[in-house]
Symmetry: C2
Subunit: 435 residues, 2 copies
């Protein structure tokens, strides 16, 4: 009898956990992702702020799964699902639409950032979800200092050195802290006409506090720490307007050439592809075993799934994604090997952390609430542990030590893919001798 075909869409935390849980299953597994790498999203802000290089948080999915012989990895983008014919339609690396049949389907297609219906903001305020996003944001930030240094008129320096971060969740807070440390340490002594430490960093959110998912006490600790680092915090007001020259916040104009979007998450179109019920955010409503009602062979996991536990929806974080992916993988393994079916999925919340600047984090786990260097060490340890390979763990560990001790960052590069060297005109002498 042919082995059951399991298709996993997405190689993020959820998809990868599912694939690994199926390591010993007698099945033909195909994992499809639109990038070639698993991305450690919680550290994306460190690429955007030049601490880490892209290769330190991205690792080829097929490299991670190279010893898992039952699994084929395909670079491709899902464009649709036919849940009655049981196949997914995938636009592969060559842009052809290829149907791939499945007996079991795990949708782990994640989320992207959302502009809350103001998509025109994207041009001026890029978001942060992929490595390409992080590199673009890094270019933009570093370029701002270059523009200011090249500008001989000091009156223009202030606008060029104003950075606005829209959204004070973990990404916004971590970005603001990392930016503040960047201007005060790494960039020190690097400029002659400007003082990078004079840069203005403004963090905006419409909620009444930063890190809204943490306790009020830890929110306050994070806010205090950011203010000590020189970050201006504007709460209880959203951004009404963003253009090439700045933002409007609560009727006030803040001139800025560098606005970064750190708010808002929108799930992938999994609900549309499946043509099934979603919550208001667009996440697919799933049952207690993570399957779609009426389709026991289709699992939806991670950021693109809506799952309520104790009357509250689970948050879109890596832990939920990993636990759901692992659960779905194990359930399918048991089904095809005749093992017993597990109990309903239940999320075990290990806690929440966010870094604020250098050597400081806030941490809450169960009844424990703490902030400071200790929390930062735990944060560093936990994040290293969850990196995909031992090579990455070593590399990121060494980089953090280096940055902590010297203030130097790992990847302060502007790599402009549009301004490559132009081809030169026909030449004489140099032309001899080769090709």
């Amino acid at each position: 009898m042919a082995q059951p075909r399991i298709v996993i869409l997405g190689g993020g935390f959820a998809g990868l956990a599912a694939a690994k849980a199926l390591k010993k299953s007698p099945a033909e597994i195909t994992l499809i992702d639109r990038t070639n790498h698993h991305l450690f999203q919680p550290l994306l802000y460190q690429v955007a702020t030049s601490v880490l290089a892209p290769n330190q948080i991205g690792f080829p999915i097929r490299g991670i799964l190279r010893n898992q012989k039952n699994t084929t990895v395909i670079l491709g983008e899902v464009t649709g699902v036919d849940k009655d014919q049981k196949c997914v339609i995938v636009s592969d690396a060559d842009r052809k639409n290829v149907p791939i049949a499945y007996d079991y389907l795990i949708m782990a297609t994640g989320a992207s950032h959302s502009y809350f219906g103001r998509n025109e903001f994207e041009e001026f305020a890029p978001g942060l979800k992929s490595l390409a996003d992080a590199v673009a944001t890094r270019n933009k930030i570093l370029q701002a200092f270059e523009l200011a240094e090249a500008e001989e008129d000091p009156s223009r320096h202030r606008d060029l050195l104003t950075f606005v971060l829209v959204g004070a969740g973990p990404t916004g807070v971590e970005m603001a802290g990392a930016l503040a440390v960047l201007v005060h340490t790494t960039l020190k002594s690097n400029f002659r006409r400007i003082d990078p430490a004079s840069a203005r960093i403004v963090l905006v959110d419409m909620s009444p506090r930063v890190l809204g998912t943490f306790s009020a006490h830890l929110s306050q600790a994070a806010k205090q720490r950011l203010e000590n680092l020189g970050v201006e915090i504007r709460l209880e007001h959203g951004v009404d307007q963003i253009d090439a020259d700045g933002v409007m916040v609560a009727g006030e104009r803040i001139a800025s050439k560098t606005v970064i979007w750190t708010a808002g998450v929108a799930p992938s179109p999994a609900g549309k592809w499946l043509k099934v019920e979603t919550d208001r955010a667009g996440r697919v409503r799933i049952q207690k075993d993570l399957t779609v009602p009426g389709y026991p062979e289709i699992f939806v996991v991670g950021d693109t799934a809506a799952f309520e536990q104790d009357g509250k929806p689970l948050p879109g974080v890596a832990q939920v994604a990993m636990q759901q992916g692992r659960y779905a993988g194990r359930l399918i393994h048991n089904r095809i090997t005749g093992g017993k079916q597990p109990a309903a999925f239940r999320y075990f919340d290990k806690g929440n952390m966010a870094v604020v600047g250098k050597g400081f984090a806030v941490l809450q786990s169960g009844k424990v609430q703490t902030s400071g260097l200790g929390a930062w060490l735990i944060w560093a340890f936990v994040h290293l542990q969850f990196l995909a390979t031992s090579g990455l763990r070593l590399s990121v560990f060494l980089q953090w030590m280096w940055t902590f001790l010297t203030g130097q960052r790992g990847s302060r590069l502007i790599v402009n893919h549009h301004a490559s060297a132009p081809v030169s005109k026909p030449v004489g002498e140099a032309a001899r001798g080769a090709a």
Copy 2:
């Protein structure tokens, strides 16, 4: 009295050596480069073949010179020189044309690759001169394996897995060797439908041997080594045609989706900007003290300069650039401090090296000619030594050890800047709480 203004165009080996030689000079120095980083070009092929990450061979110029208080670094692109008014016209980061006056000018604007008048080849056979080029080539190579793995028709695998390198100088030979090792070690076990080791690597050059600047003996050793690694070598024939589906070599069609240009160098347009005499290749003819005839305040150094020594033009290599840059810097220092003028420039050739595959290099220095692991160790030591910072030396050393021992490479990423995540449609629930 105001300090003399020294403008250095280019932050490559020549420009950086010149700046460093002026470290203690009572002068206002401005170094202008169109990228923000000094690039260690000899290792560019290692970025193209995923061994190193871009940040391991590129480092911010202003970081290197941060403690040199007499020097301002500007990101900008030179668009002209007015040698009578003594100013350079620079298009800065903001695309404005700004005149910058000088008392001394050092042009170290380097070289780009040349298609020998066949610029239409560029679309199908990208070259390798900048970090953006190397990242694009890396994407292209890794993408070829992805396309092949996604292709269910095995008859198409061979074309997709054929790599053609045009030009068998150091870059072509080093690329071919690194590609061969990539397919035999790093990519092993990573694919299910294709065998990466079956990839065909073809190295083409119209000269009768590879590494034409080395002795016949070492050329032969390099050729033998490449053949042992499975590289096909086609000599004494140029490439007549390149298109999207392959190349024509000596009347034979080689189907290939991945052609890489490793031949040909064209100097920067320094001669045109200065409106002075050049050699046939377009390099500026300079005098024994590296100045332009009639303009004792204008120095031209490195790849963009034509300098004959013992009746032969100096090659366009890093050593020449560094020695010329240092010479020009010292000469200017002596002139403005009243020190004695140095003797005419003379290049001291320390030797030539090229890596072929893993743990093997060819080396010639004076009468010494050697190849093998010993030469590779010397190569590694020398190249580490010339990296810009101790951080890079440590990082590259560790990466090489890791790659040597495990076969894993440091940066096997496809980061596609054009296929970023699309902005999602307006959402409901997720929109609450932020921004």
